[in-house]
């Protein structure tokens, strides 16, 4: 793939220059980046409380609650995105509910825009955020927090000064894996996105199946690959790769 990206049919950098010359491709790359940042942010906001709850309940309760994360995790992405299409569509569940309640008089557009892409991606990526968070939080010695209570800290202060800093390793691992997966996302933007929600992976697919331009598709994929590897290398220096898998060798 790497070689093809330079060959068209002889050695050339043309395909890479093309990415930089056409503003539309830069736009798509920036759009991918922006979308991934938003999605990762929301995944953290939703994932942190969940991981906290899981690590602070009895083991039996945590195992039951885990089902809520594991079942979506092992359910086909197509099924999940189809479900969101059903929920958010013009005749979908939310719209018919709001119409019946008289909140709105005409259906609102919830599907095929950036909003639906974000909802779908957060739904898909949330377990990837929670698993590393939970595994780190579970390892935190709870007696440290109790010690803070004993020394007169309010629960909020104890959380902020003791628990939160200790959980940062999990936050980092969760952010990294979520962001990396978000950057390469294809199915959700393709199904739930509108015309403006084009991401790099959709460009790649388009170049292969519609434009038949293998070389250009390869150079786009190579940019995506390098991007992913750079993020991964920078962050794993701080994190240690084994944390992401939740296991070590």
């Amino acid at each position: 793939m790497f070689i093809i990206s330079f060959m068209d049919p002889t050695f050339t950098l043309r395909n890479y220059i093309r990415i930089y010359q056409r503003p539309v491709y830069i736009m798509v790359i920036l759009n991918t980046f922006r979308l991934s940042v938003i999605v990762t942010f929301f995944a953290l906001i939703l994932g942190y409380p969940i991981a906290y709850l899981l690590s602070h309940t009895r083991k039996g309760v945590a195992q039951i609650l885990m089902i809520f994360l594991v079942l979506p995790f092992w359910t086909s992405i197509l099924v999940r995105m189809y479900a969101w299409m059903v929920i958010l569509g013009r005749n979908g569940i939310i719209n018919s509910l709001l119409l019946k309640l008289g909140v709105i008089s005409t259906p609102i557009d919830l599907l095929f825009n950036t909003f639906s892409v974000i909802v779908g991606m957060v739904h898909f990526l949330l377990p990837f955020m929670v698993f590393p968070l939970y595994s780190v939080m579970n390892g935190i010695d709870k007696s440290l927090v109790m010690a803070a209570y004993n020394l007169g800290a309010t629960p909020f202060k104890a959380f902020l000064k003791i628990f939160f800093p200790l959980s940062l390793a999990g936050v980092g691992a969760g952010l990294l894996i979520t962001f990396i997966l978000a950057v390469g996302f294809f199915i959700t933007p393709a199904l739930l996105g509108g015309r403006r929600d084009v991401v790099i992976s959709m460009l790649i697919e388009n170049q292969i199946h519609v434009q038949f331009n293998w070389a250009f598709a390869s150079s786009l994929a190579f940019v995506l690959l390098i991007f992913t590897l750079i993020i991964f290398n920078i962050s794993s220096r701080f994190l240690g790769i084994d944390r992401i898998w939740g296991g070590k060798l």
């Binding site: 793939m1 709850l53 602070h56 092992w74 189809y82 059903v86 199915i187 992976s201 994929a221 060798l249």
Partner: protein
């Protein structure tokens, strides 16, 4: 924060905190609903009698399930997927188990590096992998070939087998292996008589996860299915693009049911694995 012993909590158990707690639990509850509701929403639609998406459905019917089992393209796509997923799961286990064994038991330089390298398909964008295998197989005229899809899916499935098997390899007392070898068993015999029975639950869960990884895989299927090897996700992908009729809700319900079955069997396997381990510890 009720899990702390009473004496710590009482002093701070003021109304203000419990209202924060209520807020916290409500927030968490909403997130759990957000996670799980979409999974169960497709079921009522799949038994609706109307052709259009309606919620709640007006009448009940099984016509969409009949549609699925009656349509040749759906059935053949399902069979193709089962075939590819079975082969992928076998191949990934055959490759993954020895590798896990080598990496956990072997004492040579670079195990950590090799492990990370082998897990890398999990973090690389699937579209990059899909494109790479597509370009490769297209030149060999293997687009639309079942075995090509199997090979590509194996790339994604090996890391999963590797993780489950190496974690179960680390989970038991290595002295059991040493004891077997002391008693005169060679390495191969030790593996089949001692190691394998102990890691069997992990091996089967790994194989099941590998199966579902391939069975649900769509991005590679979009590139490699061609017109000959249409998998079930590929058929769904086309169908979502063409017409949204509740047949796909019926398929989705069946897939969710499959996932639930799979997770149940993995949970049972895990419990069994813990029991075997517990018995061994009691004996020693």
């Amino acid at each position: 924060m009720n899990e702390y012993p009473g004496e710590f909590v009482k002093t701070y158990d003021t109304p203000k905190i419990s209202s924060i707690e209520i807020l916290f639990y409500t927030f968490c509850g909403l997130i759990f609903l957000f996670l799980i509701l979409p999974i169960f929403i497709v079921f009522p639609i799949s038994i609706s009698s109307s052709k259009y998406l309606e919620f709640p459905p007006r009448g009940l019917s099984l016509q969409w399930y009949r549609n699925f089992f009656g349509a040749k393209e759906w059935v053949s796509a399902t069979l193709t997927s089962i075939q590819i997923a079975t082969m992928t799961s076998l191949l990934a286990s055959l490759l993954g188990i020895p590798t896990a064994l080598a990496l956990t038991r072997g004492k040579f330089k670079g195990t950590q590096f090799i492990y990370s390298f082998l897990l890398s398909p999990m973090i690389l964008p699937v579209i990059v992998i899909a494109l790479a295998v597509y370009l490769h197989f297209a030149r060999l005229h293997l687009v639309g070939n079942v075995y090509a899809l199997m090979l590509a899916h194996t790339v994604l499935a090996v890391p999963i087998v590797l993780i489950t098997v190496s974690s179960s390899l680390q989970g038991f007392d290595q002295n059991l292996e040493h004891a077997a070898m002391n008693l005169g068993a060679n390495r191969i015999k030790t593996f089949f008589k001692v190691t394998f029975p102990l890691i069997k639950p992990g091996v089967i869960s790994g194989a099941l996860f590998a199966f579902i990884t391939s069975f649900d895989e769509i991005v590679i299927a979009i590139f490699l299915s061609g017109s000959q090897a249409i998998t079930l996700p590929r058929r769904m992908w086309d169908s979502i693009h063409e017409e949204i009729d509740p047949t796909i809700a019926a398929v989705s319900s069946l897939l969710i049911f499959t996932s639930i079955l799979l997770l149940l069997s993995v949970a049972i396997l895990r419990r069994r694995g813990e029991r075997i381990r517990g018995e061994l510890e009691n004996r020693s």
